[in-house]
C-alpha cells in the first residue's frame, strides 16, 4: 500500500464522529428511543442481510480491478480472493480463511509476479 497520509484531519475527525454517532443511534434505536414498538417483519428480515449485502460489494471492485496494479486484473489477487471464499465456506472458520487467503496471496505474488 502506498503510504498515503490522511492529511485532512477535519475529514478524518468528521468521519470518526459522524460514523460513531450514526452507529450509536442504530444500536440505541430500539433499546433507547423506539422501545417496544414493533418493526414490520419484512424490514427486520432485510436488516439481517446487511452483512452479505454490503461487504461482498464493498470488496468486489478491489478484487477485480485492484488499485495496486493500476486497475488491471491481477491473477494473484483474484486467486487469493477465491481461495479465501472457498476455505471460509468449506471450514466455516474466519481465521482459517484469512490464513489461506494471505498464504495464497503471498505465494501468488511471489510465483506469478
Amino acid at each position: 500500500m502506498p503510504v498515503e497520509a490522511i492529511a485532512d484531519k477535519t475529514l478524518l475527525w468528521t468521519v470518526i464522529l459522524g460514523l460513531g454517532a450514526a452507529t450509536f443511534l442504530l444500536r440505541f434505536s430500539f433499546l433507547g428511543l423506539i422501545g417496544n414498538r414493533v418493526l414490520p417483519g419484512f424490514l427486520l428480515k432485510m436488516l439481517r442481510y446487511t452483512p452479505m449485502a454490503m461487504i461482498p460489494g464493498l470488496v468486489a471492485p478491489g478484487v477485480v480491478w485492484p488499485a495496486a496494479t493500476g486497475g488491471e486484473p491481477d491473477p494473484a489477487r483474484l486467486i487469493a480472493a477465491l481461495v479465501t471464499i472457498a476455505v471460509g465456506i468449506w471450514l466455516r472458520s474466519t481465521l482459517a480463511a484469512v490464513g489461506a487467503g494471505v498464504t495464497a496471496l503471498l505465494l501468488g505474488l511471489w510465483g506469478l509476479g
Binding site: 500500500m1 452507529t23 433499546l31 468486489a60 505474488l109
Partner: protein, 236 residues
C-alpha cells in the same frame, strides 16, 4: 457486584474467550492500516473507541483512501452497521427495562458477539432477572471490547515495523471475505452476496462507488424476498 452475580460474570468471560481469537488480529490489523494511512496512534484509538465496529471501520478506511466524498464515506460505513438496529430490537425485551443511562451503555457495547452470546443465553435462562442479564452482558463485552481497544493500540504502535513492500492493500479484502464466507449458510444469504457483487460491479460507473448502496439495497431485498418465499414453501 453481589456474590450471586460474580459467577455469571466469570462464566460469560469464559464463553467470550473463543471469540477473542478473531478480535485480536482484526483490531491489530486496523491499527496497522490506520497508521499506514497516516493516522496517529491517538487517532486510530479514537476510531476504535468511538465507532467500535470493525467492518465499518475498515470500510471507512478504504473509502478515505479512495478519496470518496465525506458524506458518502459516513453513509456507506453506517450502512455496514445497519444490522445493529436488528440487534437493538432483539435486546429490547431482555434489557429494555434498565434505566436510560444503562441502556445507553448497553447500546454502545452492542456488537456482533454481545448480540449472539447475549440473545442465545437469555432465551435459555428464563429464570434470570435484569441484574443477572446485565452481569452476563458485562462479562461478554469486557474481554471482547477490551481486546478490541488493546489490539488496535498494539497494531497502531508497532505497525510501523511492517515492511513497506507487504501487500497490505489486499489484506482488507481478504479479511472481509473471510468474515463473510463462513456465515453464508442459506440460499437466501448466498443470493444476497451474489446480487451485492454483481450489482456493485455493474454499477461501478456511478460516481464514488455510490452504486454499492444501490446494489446493497437490492441484495437485502433479494435475500428477504427469497427467505419469505422459502418460508411460504415450507408452510404450504
Amino acid at each position: 457486584m453481589p456474590p450471586s452475580l460474580a459467577p455469571i460474570f466469570r462464566q460469560a468471560v469464559l464463553r467470550a474467550m473463543p471469540f477473542t481469537v478473531m478480535i485480536g488480529p482484526f483490531g491489530a490489523l486496523f491499527g496497522v492500516l490506520a497508521t499506514a494511512q497516516g493516522m496517529s496512534v491517538f487517532e486510530a484509538m479514537a476510531f476504535s473507541v468511538v465507532v467500535i465496529a470493525g467492518a465499518s471501520q475498515f470500510a471507512a478506511l478504504q473509502m478515505m483512501q479512495d478519496g470518496a466524498p465525506i458524506l458518502l464515506i459516513i453513509l456507506t460505513a453506517t450502512a455496514v452497521n445497519l444490522r445493529m438496529a436488528m440487534y437493538s430490537v432483539a435486546m429490547t425485551p431482555h434489557l429494555g427495562m434498565a434505566p436510560l443511562w444503562q441502556r445507553a451503555v448497553i447500546a454502545y457495547f452492542l456488537v456482533d458477539q454481545s448480540f449472539v452470546l447475549g440473545a442465545s443465553e437469555y432465551e435459555r435462562r428464563t429464570d434470570w432477572g435484569l441484574a443477572e442479564k446485565l452481569a452476563w452482558y458485562a462479562g461478554i463485552v469486557t474481554p471482547i471490547c477490551g481486546l478490541w481497544y488493546l489490539a488496535t493500540w498494539l497494531g497502531a504502535t508497532f505497525g510501523k515495523s511492517v515492511p513497506p513492500h507487504w501487500p497490505l492493500d489486499f489484506i482488507v479484502p481478504v479479511s472481509f471475505l473471510a468474515m463473510i464466507s463462513p456465515i453464508l449458510l442459506t440460499r437466501a444469504q448466498m443470493l444476497a452476496a451474489a446480487v451485492s457483487v454483481g450489482g456493485t460491479l455493474a454499477l461501478w460507473w456511478m460516481p464514488h462507488s455510490s452504486g454499492l448502496l444501490v446494489a446493497a439495497l437490492a441484495a437485502m431485498l433479494a435475500g428477504a424476498i427469497w427467505e419469505t418465499r422459502e418460508e411460504a414453501r415450507h408452510a404450504g
